[in-house]
């Protein structure tokens, strides 16, 4: 009987990395990022990668490591942020960047995993994003009509996701806003690897409360990353007399 459980991120990625492949990784900023798996991807030394994700890491964290190691040929993202390495590589024409509206990127990944090769969205109509894309009008229920552009589904050779809990069947539960792009990326991978904080016994996750069913998860590894890093710590002062 096969198992989905792997002892380390390196072992979970073994045999999957090759030059020119497409990798999708979950996360929004530093939240919900499969950090161990991304380190293993860097260590694989696979090159000419196409990387799909909301962003490509923050300074010295996450996909930044793979970028800094010169392994990426193209990124498909929504927000590059303040990423000096990406900026330099882009200016030197060492890397191609495909910008997507965030919701379009999320939906393209959802479509890819769901067997939908293309869909129409109003997002980006009349902007740079629409250039080279088919545009057409669709009627609204009130009889008026709007312009939409066609966007295509995205899949990945390997998807790397981060979850809170998993069982050996591959069922995943995410925590708070660390969910973000992970569920769609899990479904959009031909092979999907989940880095999880806790492996729980099969039967412990309520079947009504599974976020990503095990069918989408091929390999599982327990994360070594605790405590988690915070990108922009923001707090409010306690006012006098407020309970601690």
């Amino acid at each position: 009987m096969s198992t989905k459980l792997y002892a380390s991120a390196a072992q979970a990625l073994a045999g999957l990395c090759r030059d020119g492949m497409t990798v999708a990784a979950g996360g929004f900023g530093l939240c919900g990022v499969p950090l161990d798996l991304i380190v293993a991807l860097r260590d694989s030394q696979a090159r000419n990668l196409t990387v799909i994700g909301n962003n490509v890491g923050c300074d010295e964290h996450g996909m930044w490591l793979v970028l800094a190691n010169g392994q990426i040929r193209k990124v498909i993202l929504s927000y590059a942020g303040d990423n000096k390495i990406l900026e330099r590589a882009f200016m030197n024409q060492e890397i191609e960047i495909e910008f997507n509206p965030q919701g379009t990127l999320a939906e393209r990944l959802r479509a890819g995993g769901a067997g939908i090769p293309a869909f129409f969205t109003r997002t980006g109509y009349g902007t740079l994003i629409a250039e080279g894309k088919e545009a057409r009008q669709f009627a609204n229920p009130d009889g008026s009509s709007d312009w939409y552009i066609m966007e295509t589904g995205l899949t990945a050779d390997v998807s790397l996701v981060k979850a809170w809990k998993a069982d050996a069947a591959g069922n995943l539960v995410y925590r708070k806003t660390a969910r973000n792009f992970n569920p769609m990326i899990a479904a959009a991978g031909r092979i999907t690897i989940a880095e999880v904080e806790e492996l729980v016994p099969v039967g412990e996750i309520d079947p009504d409360q599974v976020h990503t069913p095990g069918i989408f998860v091929d390999r599982i590894v327990v994360s070594t990353r605790q405590p988690k890093h915070i990108e922009r710590p923001t707090t409010r002062p306690r006012t006098a007399g407020e309970p601690v």
Binding site: F28, C31, G32, G81, G103, A106, G126, K228, T234
Partner: protein
């Protein structure tokens, strides 16, 4: 006397209605969160996957798994819900968020908005801005009336790459408020002047063509 940032946010807060689900952009729009009138229920959405944004956490109570779209640590509230980015933008694209209040670099008189890139500078990416202006049925832009060189930001046509075409319903600056027609079928209406600001000043500092609301003419 022109409005300050807090007063611009107060003006934007007048657009809130009981029961609204609202997305607030960074900068002045964020201040609107603290200005919900008493007795009114307004639910704030964070496009990275939360409905029901609470206040910033106290020192020592930050949760790395709980951030807003600006990547700041936040809190949730009783009745909040978390969801994926696809579900979040399904909400936005599907028109379920009633109001989006966001910043702008340029607004055109036909409702076009530019707020995501300046040619020649490094492109950071549009994040969720294009989805918000395309999907939310009412879009309020809060921005300075002129740029640092004094050039008008409310223009006949945008010069910067667009975030959305025909997407702005209301423009709030530090000197005036304009009601726009997304479809571009009528000229923008000047509906409000900051205290002590005269019509001549607005005319001088604006490139867009506008008409006056009845109570101002």
């Amino acid at each position: 006397m022109a409005w300050n940032r807090e007063q611009m946010a107060e003006r934007a807060a007048k657009e809130l209605r009981d029961g609204y689900y609202v997305n607030l952009g960074i900068g002045i729009p964020t201040l609107v969160a603290n200005l919900v009138p008493p007795g009114m229920t307004v639910t704030l959405q964070s496009e990275n996957g939360l409905l029901g944004i609470g206040p910033f956490p106290y020192e020592g109570e930050m949760d790395p798994d709980l951030i807003n779209a600006g990547k700041q640590t936040i809190t949730d509230l009783p009745g909040s819900s978390y969801f994926s980015s696809a579900d979040s933008f399904a909400m936005i694209r599907g028109g379920h968020i009633q109001l989006s209040i966001l910043g702008g670099m340029e607004v055109a008189q036909n409702g076009d908005l530019a707020n995501w890139m300046v040619p020649g500078k490094m492109i950071k990416g549009m994040g969720g801005a294009m989805d918000l202006v395309a999907g939310v049925p009412r879009v309020v832009v809060v921005m300075e009336h002129n740029d640092k060189s004094g050039a008008a930001k409310f223009r006949k046509a945008c010069t910067l790459p667009l975030t959305g075409k025909g997407v702005v319903d209301l423009l709030i600056t530090e000197i005036a408020v304009f009601d726009l027609d997304r479809k571009g079928l009528r000229a923008p209406l000047l509906v409000e002047l900051a205290p002590g600001v005269g019509l001549d000043e607005v005319r001088t500092r604006t490139e867009a063509e506008f008409t006056l609301a009845p109570h101002l003419s």
